[in-house]
């Protein structure tokens, strides 16, 4: 009976933990050199995608929608989403859009107010801010940048195991 109680408690606690983690809201993290290094370290050895977007970029929304769709097919997509607005005035809008696309639990970053060029430069000194911008990162750490909307099939092929 004692064993039964023990098992019940494990089950209930696991259930609660599942309920909790399934609805976690992760805050967006301010992007800087340190965070970028950490991001690369955390994804080391993986094939992953870094997607950059802005609230002023209609095409970016289509790419966010693709990620939203892929989430339904596979948990824990190796994707990092970075907002490039670098503008405190758009913070609320940014949060609402990420929530609307159900991407709050994905790894989210944002450029700090007034740090647009600095942040871009950290990522890629040859990128001029055109959007959407996608970096396909190979498991050996090589980055391949592409501007403009990427075909959903290509993103799916890259992210789905």
């Amino acid at each position: 009976m004692k064993k039964l109680s023990y098992l019940s408690s494990i089950f209930l606690i696991s259930f609660c933990c599942y309920c909790y983690t399934g609805q976690t809201y992760a805050s967006s993290i301010a992007f800087d050199q340190e965070q970028f290094s950490l991001m690369k370290k955390q994804n080391k050895g993986k094939q992953w995608l870094m997607l950059l977007w802005s609230v002023d970029c209609p095409a970016c929304f289509k790419e966010l929608a693709v990620i939203q769709q892929l989430q339904h097919q596979q948990d824990n997509l190796a994707v990092v989403i970075i907002n490039t607005d670098a503008n405190n005035e758009t913070t609320q809008e940014r949060i609402e859009i990420i929530e609307k696309f159900g991407l709050s639990h994905v790894s989210n970053f944002h450029f700090l107010d007034g740090k647009s060029e600095q942040s871009r430069y950290i990522i890629d000194s040859n990128w001029y801010g055109e959007l959407p911008r996608s970096y396909f990162v190979e498991s050996n750490g090589n980055f391949h940048g592409k501007s403009g909307l990427i075909k959903p099939a290509i993103i799916a092929q890259w992210l789905l195991n």
């Binding site: 805050s27 060029e117 430069y121 055109e130 959007l131």
Partner: protein, 427 residues
């Protein structure tokens, strides 16, 4: 263990797990609320909106009487200051006396201001609506040098909840208003019919409030324009409007296009030896920038007194990367060979230009990795050759687009540096 003990034990476990669950949700809610709070705090951290340092964008223009006006928008209000000494000192900040409404004022989008020679002040802006990527082009007029303004009106006449933005405005001394913008009404209608669309349309509106022509005409000039780059325009020597914008050619090739819109009748055109009315825009750039997205980089045009069109643009195509300058003496039908401007490796971008007689001034921004730079290059032979590029100013906490404005025969560069201040200097 008795049955009652089992029930008590199970009950304890359930209560315990419920408590954990509740605690977890409290943490989650707190996290979420913290996120919302953070957003609120970041927004609240914005400084005094009457201070220009708080603005993300600034629009500067010299009025016909020589006064320099600068305009910015924050939190649904527009503010202006006036300088009578070419930008050395400015008046106290004045709020544009109209009801509050949303105003697009970041990156390529910003309110515009223009003047006639009868103390008329003209304002236009894009006002975002409740649905994402929808906005109206708005307009207000003052006949008393900005003391009061008319109740704002909507310029686009489609009454549709769709995109209308990236407004540009020119006003003649006599008060003839020309307003252009990117308009999504055509795409909206096609979407309703389930047809594919790509890009927006270019629209032109005209009115003259001094002459009591207060209803703006709406004329579509082109389809398939890029949706997120500013438009540029100037009057040519015939008083016609020359408009430069980023167009979508073929499969998302984003190149610049130029159209000169005749202001007069064909008969008048013939008698005045005007160029024939242009129906199809001329393609200006051939850099082959293929991108299904937002370049966020418009061009600039300036026409000097020998009717030569001078143009700058930015592209990142397979055939051309960076800033380019070219000119045309036949309204864009043929072009000089584009000259590369600025250091591509130093993020040279956001060019603007102006002409003054045979002087051609080009400004642009570069970035060192830590510092924003404003650069300038001048030609004194109508664009045939240019002096060595010169660094004019730097910024540490952000950079607005630079612009060259004119007062008589002197050109000035206007560059807003958010959090640092608006910088203006004679070139």
């Amino acid at each position: 263990m008795s049955m009652s003990m089992l029930s008590r034990s199970t009950l304890q476990i359930i209560v315990c797990t419920l408590l954990i669950f509740t605690a977890a949700n409290v943490v989650k809610a707190a996290e979420h609320s913290h996120q919302a709070m953070q957003a609120k705090t970041e927004q609240q951290a914005v400084c005094d909106e009457t201070k220009i340092t708080c603005a993300k964008t600034v629009t500067s223009v010299f009025a016909p009487n020589g006064d320099l006006w600068r305009l910015w928008a924050i939190n649904s209000s527009m503010y202006f200051q006036v300088s009578i000494d070419n930008g050395l000192t400015f008046s106290a900040t004045n709020r544009i006396a109209i009801d509050k409404e949303k105003i697009s004022a970041r990156n390529e989008n910003r309110p515009k201001i223009a003047f006639d020679k009868y103390q008329g002040v003209y304002l236009s802006w894009a006002s975002p609506k409740e649905k994402k990527y929808t906005a109206d082009i708005r307009f207000a007029y003052s006949n008393n040098n900005g003391k009061t303004f008319s109740t704002p009106i909507t310029v686009n006449n489609d009454n549709l909840l769709t995109g209308h933005s990236f407004n540009e405005m020119l006003v003649t001394d006599e008060g003839d208003i020309s307003l252009v913008w990117l308009d999504s009404r055509h795409a909206y209608q096609l979407n309703l019919q389930g047809k594919p669309t790509n890009g927006s349309s270019l629209y032109l509106a005209k009115a003259n409030f001094r002459k009591n022509h207060k209803v703006f005409s709406n004329q579509q000039l082109a389809n398939n324009t890029c949706v997120c780059c500013r438009i540029a325009m100037d009057y040519n020597n015939n008083g016609d409007l020359a408009i430069l914008w980023r167009h979508i050619y073929g499969d998302n090739i984003r190149e610049f296009a130029l159209l000169t819109v005749a202001q007069k009748t064909v008969a008048q055109n013939k008698s005045a030896q005007h160029e024939p009315e242009q129906k199809t825009p001329y393609q200006i750039s051939y850099d082959h920038w293929k991108i299904n997205g937002c370049p966020h980089q418009g061009g600039a045009i300036s026409i000097n007194n020998n009717n030569r069109y001078h143009l700058v643009w930015f592209n990142q195509g397979d055939l051309g990367k960076g800033i380019f300058y070219a000119s045309s003496d036949d309204q864009g039908k043929s072009l000089t060979k584009p000259i590369s401007v600025g250091m591509q490796s130093a993020q040279a971008s956001h060019p603007h230009m102006n002409t003054n007689g045979n002087n051609i001034d080009i400004v642009w921004t570069q970035f060192t990795g830590t510092t924003h730079q404003l650069w300038h290059q001048r030609s004194i032979d109508n664009g045939k050759s240019f002096s060595k590029a010169k660094l004019l100013a730097t910024a540490s906490s952000g950079s607005d687009r630079p612009f060259i404005i004119k007062k008589d025969d002197v050109s000035y560069v206007s560059w807003h540096r958010p959090k640092q201040g608006h910088w203006i200097k004679a070139l």
